[in-house]
């Protein structure tokens, strides 16, 4: 792959430089189109309730699910609404899942004065064996039991269950199915090696500056200032860099200025100001050489609810002078050289991690693809804009590369769908913790990690 191409070609660093230093032009950008228009919000109105987004999600995914149910359990199964159920009759119901969790943080419990409870500290996982699944459709809800994994599923998923209603009013599930992958997109990928660098969690503005050396090494590799001619010629095949969120570190989010007295905090500046200046300088170096797409993340100065809007270009005065800098939304979808990319900065996956028994980020990523929805837990436990017309997180077209940022480790898998879909699932690791970024080869949909590290004071070699 990347390093294999570099090694045998040309001379190494131990030879004198060649008389005529060669130039390696970067591969030109042949096809780029941004497909995230439905994630961009124009005028925002928060005076709506969230019932609309759930109603639209169910209405939008219902036809596809009914088709899946018919193909799975036979064409002649009875598709019923909950109000039409009869006890004992085997039928199929399509609805939204709700998981009643005892440990789920509830604002009502926190502000309830009768209980005098201390608010619950944040836990890594909020699941408990006593959780229950309830299926809701437009009018009614019913408790589910049977062949369904309560711990694994999360609120907000749309699914079809097959079974019968019992006498005690619960629904006994014999089988269930999700929306499954959407229809595949035609493949127009490049015929030669082209790489896209995915990195996330740069974590600028943190207290320790260890990751800064690795960040600078990353920038130097991409701009071709590192390595011998072999590495430089390989770096010229990188067509794009996507920064998937958390460019600023969590330390910049400290709210001390609110709690301390005004006379102590008068002259202090928010930590994010310095961090954004650093980000601007790094982006300046990158943008002068390669197109960069910057996605906001959980700790970045943009709105909190999904879909996060692009960072404002006034924060990056030096870098936004270049047309190669593109500030994009948080779930980001684009066609790069004929390959459809879709990805988030990881908030959706980490939220599902908290409310489900699934531990592996790649497994959760694959599950969201099979469930047909990028983040089913929005708006229940993940902040979301109150859409009313359509739910933009429903997967309508199958991407070729589906990534999530800020994962604990790097993982990738080529997923084959039943209708010929090929999806490369990539969990991009947090760069400030792992110093690892990913290189995706667009020609054959393979992914390779690339790690930068310096020798620390406590290193053994």
């Amino acid at each position: 792959m990347f390093s294999e191409q570099a090694a045998p070609t040309a001379q190494g660093l131990l030879a004198p430089p060649s008389a005529e230093p060669p130039t390696f032009p970067r591969v030109p950008v042949s096809g780029y189109s941004d497909c995230s228009q439905h994630f961009q919000l124009g005028e925002r109105s928060f005076s709506r309730q969230y019932a609309h987004i759930y109603a639209v999600r169910l209405a939008g995914m219902r036809p596809g699910l009914e088709q899946r149910a018919r193909s799975r359990w036979g064409n002649d199964i009875a598709l019923r609404k909950l109000s039409e159920l009869q006890a004992g009759e085997k039928c199929c119901v399509v609805g939204t899942l709700f998981k009643a969790m005892q440990l789920q943080p509830s604002i009502l419990q926190e502000i309830s004065e009768e209980h005098n409870l201390v608010p619950q500290p944040p836990l890594p996982k909020y699941i408990q064996p006593s959780d229950e699944l309830i299926l809701e459709d437009e009018l009614q809800r019913i408790k589910l039991e049977g062949a369904i994994d309560v711990q694994r599923l999360v609120t907000g998923t749309i699914l079809a269950v097959y079974g019968s209603e019992q006498d005690d009013g619960r629904f006994l599930v014999e089988d269930h199915c999700f929306a499954d992958l959407p229809p595949p997109l035609p493949w127009n990928g490049p015929s030669s090696d082209r790489f896209v660098l995915l990195a996330s969690g740069l974590g600028l503005g943190s207290v320790s500056g260890e990751a800064l050396l690795s960040t600078q090494l990353l920038v130097d590799v991409v701009t071709g200032q590192l390595g011998a001619e072999g590495e430089q010629s390989c770096a010229a095949h990188i067509t794009r860099v996507i920064l998937a969120g958390n460019l600023l570190s969590q330390n910049t989010q400290s709210r001390d200025t609110i709690n301390k007295a005004k006379y102590l905090t008068k002259k202090t500046q928010a930590a994010s100001v310095e961090a954004v200046k650093m980000l601007d300088e790094i982006l300046l170096q990158l943008c002068s050489s390669v197109p960069v797409d910057v996605m906001p993340g959980e700790f970045d100065p943009t709105n909190y609810t999904l879909p996060q809007q692009p960072l404002h270009r006034c924060m990056l005065p030096l870098a936004s002078a270049y047309a190669t800098l593109r500030l994009v939304t948080n779930p980001y979808q684009a066609n790069l050289d004929g390959v459809r990319f879709l990805g988030t900065s990881g908030q959706n996956i980490s939220d599902i991690f908290k409310y489900s028994s699934m531990d592996d980020y790649l497994e959760i990523l694959e599950w969201t693809l099979l469930a047909g929805h990028i983040s089913p837990t929005a708006p229940d436990t993940l902040g979301c804009y109150p859409f009313y017309k359509s739910d933009p997180f429903i997967l309508t077209e199958c991407p070729h590369v589906y990534f999530c940022g800020n994962a604990p480790h790097f993982q990738s898998k080529l997923f084959q769908g039943k209708e010929g879909q090929r999806v490369l699932l990539v969990t991009v690791p947090d760069f400030s913790a792992t110093q690892t970024a990913c290189l995706v080869n667009l020609r054959d949909l393979t992914c390779q990690p690339i790690t930068f590290s310096g020798f620390g004071a406590d290193s053994e070699d």
């Binding site: 209405a59 939008g60 359509s390």
Partner: protein, 122 residues
């Protein structure tokens, strides 16, 4: 069942809207002695009266039935036209005459916004 007679049938309560405010629900002002009066809040959103004739009660009844029918999704917080168009896009085939009525009485907020019950509701 006939409509209950209210004091506001004879003495309609008019709310004055400030200039430049976007159309929408006005917060209900509670009476001084905390008595909740059942009023139908009439909203005036511009100084000049609408030029068309006021919509007849049968039309308003039809629109109210459109609001309360569950097939087209929740009705709170969005205008009736937005709800109609959303139902159309989702393939739920909402009745056409409703849209014609909504476009015909575009200036009348009683028609375009959701039917408000007891002055509250969103």
């Amino acid at each position: 069942m006939e409509q209950p007679r209210r004091i506001t049938d004879s003495f309609p309560r008019r709310r004055r809207r400030g200039p430049g405010r976007p159309p929408g629900r006005l917060k209900d002002k509670k009476d001084k002695d905390k008595v909740q009066v059942k009023v139908k809040v009439k909203v005036q959103d511009c100084p000049h009266a609408p030029s068309q004739s006021p919509p007849d009660p049968a039309l308003l009844e039809m629109l109210r039935r459109f609001d309360l029918s569950w097939e087209y999704g929740p009705c709170t917080g969005i205008t009736r036209l937005q709800r109609w168009e959303r139902a159309q896009e989702l393939g739920l085939s909402p009745p056409g005459p409703i849209r014609d009525a909504l476009l015909e009485h575009r200036d009348n907020p009683d028609v375009t916004y959701r039917w408000v019950w007891d002055g509250m509701g969103w």
